[in-house]
Symmetry: C2
Subunit: 154 residues, 2 copies
Amino acid sequence: MEKEHRKESKKKLWDKARLSFEASSFRLTEPRKALLELILSAEGPFSVPKLLKSAKPGDKIQFDPVTVYRNLPVFEELKIIEKCDFSGDTTFYEVILDHKHDHHHHHVVCKECRRVDPLDFCIVQAQVTVLEKLGYTGLSHKLEFLGVCPQCSG
Amino acid sequence: MEKEHRKESKKKLWDKARLSFEASSFRLTEPRKALLELILSAEGPFSVPKLLKSAKPGDKIQFDPVTVYRNLPVFEELKIIEKCDFSGDTTFYEVILDHKHDHHHHHVVCKECRRVDPLDFCIVQAQVTVLEKLGYTGLSHKLEFLGVCPQCSG
DNA sequence: TATTTAATGCAAGTCACTTGCATTATGTTT
DNA sequence: AAACATAATGCAAGTGACTTGCATTAAATA
């Protein structure tokens, strides 16, 4: 039952997104609707290339890469999605309308298949142990802080 | 005095690097020597573009980007440098011959000037507090684990 | 010194992402 | 409802980091 509640129905997410748009000066256009649809059905974090590939099979709407690149930042501003910074050549985002993403969390990235799993907690070393118990091997982790340095804060 | 020992003399680092090369089948060629020189005098983490720019002023040796791109992985294999994964479009490395880099550590990246400072310790939340005391503002941090997932571990 | 083999450097290519600009869609005003 | 103003789209072309192919050159080996 807990599990059933974990992921809100897509309809509810849609409504939240629609509200965000209405509260803003951005227009919820057809391409944006289609993109939102695509994003809401994405499994875990997604990148532009990943989205474009997932949409390939003769969809009614053609996704222009440029439009996607231009709209993800819009969605981000509307707090529909959020960047999750894996290093690598592509930028990943994830939906944050869903309450399961409300809290601070991190990810495990598989070195081989690049599968990305979210973790719902955040304790560095203890977490490694847990991950090992879950079957992950060869684990390393990276932690970076981002902020404004004293010189620039000045 | 402690501080004096922090950074080994460049000569010692050179010797270590030379030894690594001799123990391997890689050749310590002129371009590699010049690149090594450049790297050993770099302040903190460096990227290929950064190196290329820093070498600009009519140096005796011309650095071909391709050679640099091809050699950093060689240096990495020889444990002379190591990737440090900031997200962003460019790959950063840092020298690990110097013993101050022997232990596990992270970095603070300035959102504005992209200045990168190393941290010699690793405690997540406590660290944020310390950084704030040091004058950093608007701090956020990111932590990612990298490993092989249960599926791929077989 | 000759030979083999690794390393270099130029040209060209890839891939994620951005920019410019004319066209189209949307929301607003009359 | 028609006309207007403006935001959004999509094509083409441009960046910038990095990679690849290949002929040339330099370094270790015979």
